[in-house]
Symmetry: D2
Subunit: 298 residues, 4 copies
Amino acid sequence: MEIGIIGLGKMGKNLALNLLDHGHQIIGYDMSSEGLEVAQKEGIEVSDSIGELVDSLSKRRVIWMMIPAGDPVDNTIKKLIPLLDEDDIIIDGGNSNFNNTLRRNEYLNQKGIHLVDAGTSGGVEGARNGACMMIGADDSVFAYLEGVFKDVNVEKGYLHTGPTGSGHFTKMVHNGIEYGILQAIGEGFEILEASDFDLDYKEIARVWNHGSVIRSWLMELTENAFSKDPKLEGIKGVINSSGEGLWTVEEALKLKVPVPVIANSLFVRYRSQQEDTFSGKVIAALRNEFGGHKVEKR
Amino acid sequence: MEIGIIGLGKMGKNLALNLLDHGHQIIGYDMSSEGLEVAQKEGIEVSDSIGELVDSLSKRRVIWMMIPAGDPVDNTIKKLIPLLDEDDIIIDGGNSNFNNTLRRNEYLNQKGIHLVDAGTSGGVEGARNGACMMIGADDSVFAYLEGVFKDVNVEKGYLHTGPTGSGHFTKMVHNGIEYGILQAIGEGFEILEASDFDLDYKEIARVWNHGSVIRSWLMELTENAFSKDPKLEGIKGVINSSGEGLWTVEEALKLKVPVPVIANSLFVRYRSQQEDTFSGKVIAALRNEFGGHKVEKR
Amino acid sequence: MEIGIIGLGKMGKNLALNLLDHGHQIIGYDMSSEGLEVAQKEGIEVSDSIGELVDSLSKRRVIWMMIPAGDPVDNTIKKLIPLLDEDDIIIDGGNSNFNNTLRRNEYLNQKGIHLVDAGTSGGVEGARNGACMMIGADDSVFAYLEGVFKDVNVEKGYLHTGPTGSGHFTKMVHNGIEYGILQAIGEGFEILEASDFDLDYKEIARVWNHGSVIRSWLMELTENAFSKDPKLEGIKGVINSSGEGLWTVEEALKLKVPVPVIANSLFVRYRSQQEDTFSGKVIAALRNEFGGHKVEKR
Amino acid sequence: MEIGIIGLGKMGKNLALNLLDHGHQIIGYDMSSEGLEVAQKEGIEVSDSIGELVDSLSKRRVIWMMIPAGDPVDNTIKKLIPLLDEDDIIIDGGNSNFNNTLRRNEYLNQKGIHLVDAGTSGGVEGARNGACMMIGADDSVFAYLEGVFKDVNVEKGYLHTGPTGSGHFTKMVHNGIEYGILQAIGEGFEILEASDFDLDYKEIARVWNHGSVIRSWLMELTENAFSKDPKLEGIKGVINSSGEGLWTVEEALKLKVPVPVIANSLFVRYRSQQEDTFSGKVIAALRNEFGGHKVEKR
C-alpha cells in the first residue's frame, strides 16, 4: 500500500522502515530538515512539505501520523483537511488522548475523512521489527487497512478494539497498567536494596524471568538494565511521564473507578521531580509547633 | 499524692510542675545530672538514683515514668522491680508500643506490681498546663489514681479506656489519625502553593479556624507556623516520625484493616528522608530500556 | 443592604434568615413552589420569578445564588444577564468548580457585571448562625460587600482570598483536606473497632476533644455521632461525594502535586459505592490460574 | 539423589514427580492418609511416619519440606531434629517468612544440621514441569544440591541468592511485586469495563501479549481467564492472600522503604473481604452531622 508518514522521529522512521520491509510504498515528511535527511539516508523517500506529501500519494490516500500528542496533531490535521479528499484515511499512531481523538473524529467525519487511532506499544524496537497496535476504526476502514497492520506488528500483535477512539483508550489503559507494574518492580528492588542481604539484582531479575509468576518483558529489561549498571549508580531516580498515566487516572476519576495503584504510581513520579515539598515543610513545622520536634533548617 | 517521676525531660519536668501546682508531693529523677539540675532550679525536689527515689516514697508507691519508649522503659522497670513492694504502681506516661505494655504488665503482675499506661497527648504545653490522657488500668488502680489524672489534664481530658494496654493502644491510634490529618493539611497547602493564585497561607489557615468544617487545633498551629514564616522558606520538608504511626500501620495490617491514608502518610515521611530512591532509578532505567526515554545522570 | 437570594434550600434559606437577623432586606426566589412557601412561612419575602426578583431590587443590585453547582448556575446566570445592569453583583455562594467561576467571570465582565465567589463552609448550622467564607472578588467589590460578609459569618470567619475564582479554589482545597481528615478519623476508629479491646468510641472521641493534638470540630461531631448510635449499627458505610474532592485531585494532577492522601480518600468513597469490583474478579481469577487458589462463586 | 519429601499436597506431590522424572530416588510423607494414598497411586514411594522416612534415607540425608508456612514447619523441624545426624540437610520449599527461616537456621546450625530455603515460584504447574527457585544456603551445601535444583527448575530458573534466609526473602519480595502487578492489571481492566466502549477483554489481553510493553505470563493468564468467562460473571471479586504480601509491607516498614503500590494492593485485598466498613460508617455519619447529607440505613 502507498502510505504517507508524517513524523520521522525514532518511532516514525522505524515504522517507515518496517513498512518498507514489507513492500509498502512509503513517503515520509518531518518538520525538521535534519529528520528528513536522516530518513533519506536510511532509504526512505521524503517530501519537503505536507502538501507535496499529499500530492504524491494516489487515492485513496492513507496518511500515518507518528507525532507528539496534543497541538502537533491538531495542527497537522488542520493542514491536511483542505488537501485531502473524501474517504481518505488519517492514522494517528501517536499517544493522543482518546478524548481528543473522539473530538477530531467528529469534525473529520463531517469532511468525509476517516480517522483511525492506532495506539502503539513495544517501543522503538517494536516500531522497527514488530509492534503491538490497538486500533480504533470503522469496520470497513479497518478491513481496508488490516493487511498493513498485520505486516508491521508481531504475530497476533494487533487488535481492532472498536470504533475510532477505542484504540487510544485501550492504549492509555495499557500505559496506566504499565505505570503500576513499573512501580511494583521498583518498590521490590528498593526493598532488596535496603535489606541486609547482599543480593545480585541482575541475577535476581534473571531468575525471575525463568519460571516465576512475574516473568515478563519488563523483567527482562530489568535484567538488561542491571547488566549494564549493577547497582544503577550512574543515574538519578527522576521519573518523567508522557501523559497517559495521568489520563488514565483522570478517566478513572470520571468513571468513579478506584485506582490506588495507578494513581500512587503517578504521584511517586511527580514526587521524584521535586527536590523538596511544601507539604513536608508544613508537616515539619506543625510537628515543631505541637511537639517541639526539631525542624531541619535550609 | 506522693509521686516519683522518672525522666525530667521536657515532658516529665512539665508534668512534675503541673502536679506541684495541684498540691502533690513530687520527687524527680533523671539519668542526666543536667536534667536533675534544671529541674531542681525550677523547684522540683530530686533524687540522685532510682533507689533513693523509691526509698523516699511512702507506700503505696506511685512512680510515673516519662521516658523514651523501648529499651529505656524495660531497663527502668528492671531496676524498679527489686525495689518495689506488692501493690505499688508504675505509670508509663510515654509512647510505648502497647504490645510492650501488655508484655510488661504480665511479668509485673506476677510480682504484684500494677502497670498503668497513660498515653499522653497535647505536647509539652499540655504536660505543663493540662494534657489529654488515655489510661489503661485495672478498675481499682484507676479509681486510686483518678484524682491525680483529673488534676493534670484539661477538664474532661482523661479517660479510663480499659485494662492495662488499652491506653497506649488508644494513644497509638490517636497518633495514626494525626499522621493522616497532618498529611491532608500538607497536601492542601501544597496545592495552594502550586496554584497560580497568590494566596496568603496564614490568612487562609486563620479563616479555616473560624466557622469552617476543618477548624481544629492543628489548623490553629498551622496559622501560628505561617505567622512566623509566611512561606516556610527557612525550613526543609523532612518529616521524622517517632514510631506510633508505624505501629498503627503494623497493627492495622495484623487486623486486616485497610488504612490507605495512614499508611501513605507514613510513606510520605519515609520518602521525605530520602535524597533519591532506588525504585526511581529502576523505573527511570526501564523507561530508557523500552522507550529510549532519557535518564538523568548523577 | 438589599439582597436577592436565589435558591432557598437548606443553605439558602438559612443564609436569608441569617441576613435578616442582621437587618438586611432580603427577597428570595426558589424554583420550587414548595421552597418558596416554606421560606415565606419563616418570614422571608419571596418573588415568583427571577425577573420579579431583579425588578424588586434597587440598584446597585446584589444577587446571591445558593444553588447546586454546574448547570443550575450557568442557567441562572444566563437568565440574569439580560435583566441586570452594569456594575450589579452576582455572588455565587455554592460549591462551583473554580474553573467554571473563572469562565463565567470572563463573560460577565464583558457585560460589566461583577461575579463574586463566596466559598462557604460550616454546613447548614453555619449558614444560619455564622459560617466561614472564602471570597474571591475585585478589591472594590469586596470592599462594597465586606459589611455583609462580616454580618453572616462567625467572627474573623471570612477572607478576601484574591480575585474572582480564588474563593472557590480555596474552598475546594478546604474540602480536599476535609476528605483526608475524615478518612484518617474513619481509619482510626476502624482499627479501634477491629481490636480485641472493648472500647467506648464516644468516650474516646470525647477525650480526644479535650487537650489532644487532634481536637477539632470534626472530632466533636464524631462524639455526637457516637452518642446517637454507639457502634453506628444503624447505618451503612456508603460515602457519597459532591465533587470538590474530585476537583481537588484533578487540580493536583494538573499541578503535578502528589496527593496520595486526598486521592486515596476519594478512592475509598468510590469503593464504598461498589458492591463488588471488576478488578477484584480479575485478581481472584488470576490467583486461581497460577496458584489454583479457590475463587468465590457468585 | 535420594530425597525425602514431607508434604504431598499439590506442590509437594508435583515436585516429587518432577524429581522422579529426573532419576532421583524419592520417598514421600504426608500427614493425611489420603495424601499418602494419592501419591502412591501416582507412583511415589511413601512412608507412614517421619521416623520411617528418615530411617529409609541413606546419609547424607536430604529432606525437602513442602508444607504450609508457620507452625507446621516448626513442628516438623522439631520432630526431625532428634532423628537427623550432623550435616544432614533440610530444604524448606514453602513460603516461610524469612525471619522464621533465620531463627530456625540458628538453632539447626547448633545441631550441625543445614537449613536451605528454596523459595519456589511458578505455581502447581511449575512444581511439576519446571519451577523457579530462589535458594538461600551455605556455599558448600548449595554446591552439593545444585544438580537437583538444575533438574527441577526451568532452564536458568534457579539462583543461589546468598546465605540461608535470602531465598525466602527474595521470594517474599517476588510476591510483593506480584501483588502490585496483579492490582495494576485489575485496575486497568476495571477502567475498560467502566467505559462506554464495548471491549473484548480476552482479545485485549491477547493483543497485549504480542509485542506490547506489558506482555507477561500474568497477562497470558489474564487471556486464559477471560477465555473461560468473558466478563468474569461467575465469580466474586474477593481476593485472599497467603502472607507474603503482608510480610513484604511489614519488612518495607521496618526498612523505611515507601511502598505505596504494594501496600495499597494489600489494602484492596483486605477491603475485598469486607461487606461493609466501619470507617465508611464513621465518615457517612460525620457527613450527615456537618452537612445534613443523607446516610443509607441498614
